[in-house]
Assembly symmetry: C2
Homo-oligomer: 457 residues x 2
């Protein structure tokens, strides 16, 4: 439905050239990197300050018009689709690092700052921000979807690394969810309520994030295994032994092949683990020795070490490009990416049963996993023009989700709900979903914030 | 106001001898360990299962009667005071450890299990639960108040160590907030919403908690400093250097004296830090050397090491008994305990200004602090019969809270809000407090869950 004339006039007058109803702009803002079809908003506001976001939200609230926040558009469950039309607020222009407080190991940023931009900015401070989803996503979007990535096994997810948020509420008021103390027991945990709320309760306009010291020593390794089971059992024993590994990533044989072709590497095409160890030189050596011994128990040979910065960067670039390497396996396709996460004791079983599923499909598929957390992704390569292939991917995704839920896991470890995973929440939460609905109704009674995502109130 | 006759009859029939309206029972359930006066409920139900809690809540909800959960009664902000009468549900009978899953490093427990009971139970597993408030509190109560303690600097608080909760909602329905996956981005973070909600949104009837491997090596040390500033600067530099210290606790000169007398120790009476290091033998040695070097920079001499289990236990027992040692400084008194927490860069300033405040009062006072988190407590010893002394303690507490808030800290690091800290939340959160009110109204529309705590909806 088109926007009311008075709202159009108001936003146009308020934002001038930073307000657009041009179709290409709208189309670009209605889709993410998922397989879901684009669903453009009626208009886009390019906001440059909290005040501007608040003004735009207030104007939309006055007309009962939906509001959808937009960062880098790299989400994977249709989070930015304007399912009920409305106004998209693009915050990529709010991209300043506001204050680094090295002495407190924290930083305040605007929501459009991307993770790579932040780490580039921090370069000379000896500090870094560890959360690294595949894309160079905006930090606002990462908080909104409770993102994580390869470092979560040691450093946690956005849940653990956001200290405080500034949020524009659905009525345009601006709040701050917490101070900067490392811990607090002062009432309901508003910070954690907005982390993962996907723009359905408010729009994040500033974030205060925890930083970590760059470790004195870092070493990385890659190691092929005789089977998926051997690789996963190595992971399980490593975690259970309390080795404080920083990264422990799994790639299946297909994915290693894809990475080799895409990144011009020559890893042995077998189920493979990528490791990284952080700490003092002695501690890193000790961790590495322990893990190598565990891997040997499960038949691994050929640990290949990367200790120099350049070597390590190359190794991890190959891992980080796995998504694009996977997509390149079938030119013209789109990736349908699953995101199950299970208790680690169930991971081998979950992956092996999933491997059996994949044998039943003609779709090309590859597996990558943040296995230290029990989280893995199956990439299913689908012809965007084929409804049969989409249905087939959906079938496999359903099986994987149901399996994860039966193992007391979750339908989404780090990609969020968007509209793509909503159907599974009833099964995952049962009546607890009513509490989410009640929270949504309480904070956004008019239902204008990113409607049709997470829960239908 | 007395309970309606039909509710009395119903609860009495349902719970038999485990329902009581006897004054001594009610009085015992209306007070905690704080300076606040007792405020007994009208009746007490001793529940033994989730179903019983749900039945009791349903019955109370039917009559619009308040419900207050009760564990060990060791809270410090009047959390269990029945300000509007009602029924107290004592869950101490729900004290079974339900399932230890060593392979997933987690455990499910009933809410009445205490932290010491759990660690005793885990004795032969090589695992432990690190959160250790002063009291041997129930785990349900610890989750409800978002408790922490001496290990939080390394292991986090209840916020980071609860994986999932079973909760009885205000209408008697039973929900589970999450599965057991280590991470999830599946919608609003219900687990974190109930952690710290102090029984105002529902009653916790089961908890799944993260466990940690008992470190291969542990060493502890105690070290006197020439000044508070020297001690705190040592803490700040230790944290900033990224030393993964497990515990770093501060005691002021008065408190060290109190501990010496109470626990028959002979520590030098000076501002003192207690340290503990966890890890491999090499890593523990390395951490200890780094911290000793940092302390030396600030003029510390005389690190006294405790590496054997018995020595360490003795050292930490003395620290853990600090509360009781403090109270013993003035027989017959009650302790008024503050709980400010600030960003670590402001800690020295905050403590030094607080020390100046304490020079202006005739009350005996002592300071202990979980200083690695920026959190400290001033114990003010107050004659319970003297309104003047209470007013004086309140005056000092206000000054400390205002100072912490001005430094972007919090009015309560780990004790929670209860009714004792409610007056400060407006100042700490501003309009964000409206979001808490909206959440309270949404989940507990009749306002029967522990009314008069955290927020007035």
């Amino acid at each position: 439905m088109p926007l009311p004339d008075d709202l159009l006039a108001h936003l146009s007058a308020r934002f001038g050239e930073r307000f657009s109803t041009a179709l290409p702009v709208r189309e670009q803002h209605g889709k993410d990197e998922s397989h879901f079809p684009a669903c453009p908003p009626e208009a886009v506001v390019f906001a440059q300050s909290t005040e501007e976001v608040a003004d735009a939200v207030k104007a939309c609230a006055g007309s009962g018009v939906p509001v959808i926040a937009f960062g880098t558009g790299t989400s994977l469950e249709g989070h930015v689709a304007a399912l009920q039309g409305g106004v998209c607020i693009d915050v990529t222009g709010m991209n300043r690092v506001l204050e680094v407080r090295a002495e407190d190991l924290d930083v305040s940023v605007q929501p459009g700052v991307t993770r790579k931009q932040l780490n580039e900015y921090l370069r000379d401070t000896g500090l870094f921000f560890p959360i690294d989803p595949g894309a160079d996503a905006s930090l606002g979007g990462m908080a909104a979807t409770r993102a994580s990535g390869t470092n979560a096994v040691r450093y946690g997810t956005m849940r653990e690394n956001v200290l405080s948020l500034q949020v524009v509420l659905p009525d345009g008021r601006v709040i701050r969810t917490a101070g900067r103390a490392r811990k607090s027991s002062a009432g309901y945990d508003l910070t954690r309520l907005f982390v993962g709320s996907e723009g359905t309760l408010g729009i994040i306009t500033e974030l205060t994030l925890r930083l970590h010291g760059i470790p004195e020593a870092i070493s990385a390794a890659v190691c092929p295994f005789p089977s998926i089971e051997a690789a996963v059992n190595t992971v399980i024993l490593t975690i259970q032994s309390g080795v404080p590994v920083a990264r422990i990533e799994f790639l299946d044989k297909v994915m290693v092949g894809a990475v080799n072709r895409y990144s011009k590497t020559s890893h042995q095409e077998a189920p493979t683990l990528f490791f990284e160890f952080h700490g003092s030189p002695a501690s890193v050596r000790e961790q590495a020795e322990k893990v190598e011994a565990i891997a040997a128990e499960f038949g691994a040979e050929g640990f290949q070490w990367a200790t120099g910065t350049e070597e390590r960067t190359k190794l991890w670039a190959a891992r980080h490009n796995a998504y694009y390497a996977g997509v390149a396996l079938r030119p013209g396709c789109r990736a349908w990416t699953t995101d199950a996460c299970v208790p680690i004791s169930r991971l081998a079983e979950c992956l092996l049963e999933t491997e059996e599923d994949l044998k039943t499909t003609s779709l090309i598929s590859a597996i990558v996993g943040h296995v230290g957390d029990g989280n893995f992704h199956v990439m299913l390569l689908v012809d965007p023009a084929s409804p049969e292939e989409a249905a087939e991917a959906e079938r496999i995704n359903h099986r994987i989700v149901r399996r994860a839920l039966a193992m007391d896991g979750t339908c989404t470890g780090e990609h969020g709900v968007g509209h793509g995973k909503m159907a599974f929440l009833e099964e995952e939460y049962g009546e607890a979903l009513d509490v989410m609905r009640a929270v949504k109704r309480a904070i956004d009674p008019a239902g204008i914030m990113n409607p049709g995502k997470i829960v239908i109130p």
